[in-house]
Amino acid sequence: MTETVLRVRGITKSFGARAVLRGIDLDAHRGDVIAILGGSGSGKSTFLRCLNLLELPDAGTIEIAGAAAPLVHDTQGRARIADPRALNDLRAKTAMVFQNFNLWTHMTVLDNIVAAPVHVHGVPRAEAADRAQALLEKVGMAGFAAHWPRQLSGGQQQRVAIARALATDPDLMLFDEPTSALDPERVREVLDLMRALADEGRTMLIVTHEMAFARDVSTRVVHVRDGVIESMGPPALMFGADASPVFRAFLSH
């Protein structure tokens, strides 16, 4: 019996009159690697951004590693944060890797990695720096600690961003199209790294267009379409002969 890291129930989200998410339930257990696939505009990125409350869902509940998202809804159904401290605590259990890396451009590589451990988790700086060096080695970026983000290629920046995400030892890692902004020849280095994280048992939710990666690395594939989960299952099933016709049609595009 494995521990539930993520429990999502009934997430909905509209931007104005457009319903982007129309009721999503999802559970993730420790060590799950969940690939979230879907066409553009299907709501898959919005869903991911709801999990750490970068977007506030209009309805539904989120629980991460036993902590509930502090969401309340007023009489008009508008969502707001009940308790900013609980929000920060919840986010601190997660880490996000963005499509555009979003390394802090005014900090060196090392400072990017130690920022959350030092300023959020209160780890002594020397200790955080030691760990950062080890992480840089792990992501193949040893020797780049003193570099500035803009001196790095896209693939290098994304690997540093992954090291930054690992620095707080998060319960849940959220990847929002981590290879979509990379040159084709740089995609491999990031995917290889993510595969290594999956192998060491990290709990990961990955919004991606990399079908081969989803098939080979994930423990579960989720197909999001029109704001709902259209189908979901282990990759062997999803990419097999018995897959949902809608997902097959999506794959054949």
């Binding site: 601190a92 880490a95 979003n102 802090w104």
Partner: protein, 223 residues
């Protein structure tokens, strides 16, 4: 010819003696205006502060600095509670009045510079800070402020250059700064162009020094 040179040397000396006044006024106004601008931008982020900051900027950016100085020095000083109150030693001093007017006026401009820089901080930089659990204060201190200051620096430098030149208006309310001394010398000597040229050269040196300093800082931050 030698008489001319002697006059120029004496004038230059007199003007340089007034330089500390111009420097003190520039520096203190720059500090005051920057701090006030930071308060204005912080106020703009709150519901109650937004209209107040708006009115402040509207008034001080929309009226001439010269009139503001006149109003502080001749207007406020004529008010009974000021004239007979504890603040009189301050408002009696033209240097203080010039400082107050410059601080208020420039704060409005610098606040606009800071507001624009704040709006220009990329969303992704802030989201990365939110996503790792940084609270609002930490986000502001560690991410938003450093990014904002770097974005604001070129336009902020411009405002400081304008501020230095604007200190010359203080001479109209009897502050004996670089411009004030120049006018005194002209009143005695009836020589205009060479005296004003000397005074202008002093301002040019000041702004050139400031510009060079800002460029160095900008290069340092460009990493």
């Amino acid at each position: 010819m030698s008489e001319e040179l002697a006059f120029l040397a004496a004038t230059a000396l007199a003007i340089v003696r007034a330089l500390p006044i111009t420097l003190v006024l520039s520096l203190s106004s720059a500090i005051g205006a920057s701090m006030l601008a930071a308060v204005l931008v912080a106020a703009q982020q709150t519901r109650i502060g937004r209209p107040l900051a708006h009115v402040w900027i509207f008034v001080f950016r929309g009226t001439p600095l010269l009139l503001q100085m006149f109003m502080v020095y001749y207007g406020v000083a004529a008010l009974g509670p000021i004239r007979h109150g504890v603040l009189w030693p301050l408002f009696r001093d033209p240097l203080f009045c010039a400082w107050l007017a410059l601080t208020c006026c420039c704060s409005a401009y610098i606040a606009e510079v800071l507001r624009a820089a704040l709006a220009a901080v990329p969303t992704g930089q802030i989201e990365a800070a939110k996503a790792c659990g940084m609270g609002r204060g930490t986000r502001v201190r560690r991410v938003i402020m450093p990014q904002m200051l770097r974005l604001a620096l070129p336009a902020y430098g411009n405002e400081l250059v304008m501020l230095i030149k604007s200190t010359s208006l203080a001479s109209t309310i009897t502050v004996v700064d670089v411009t004030g001394v120049a006018q005194l010398v002209i009143a005695h000597s009836y020589r205009t162009i060479e005296v004003f040229c000397l005074a202008a050269a002093v301002y040019l040196a000041l702004t050139a020094g400031l510009t060079a300093l800002l460029r160095r800082i900008e290069r340092g931050l460009a990493q």
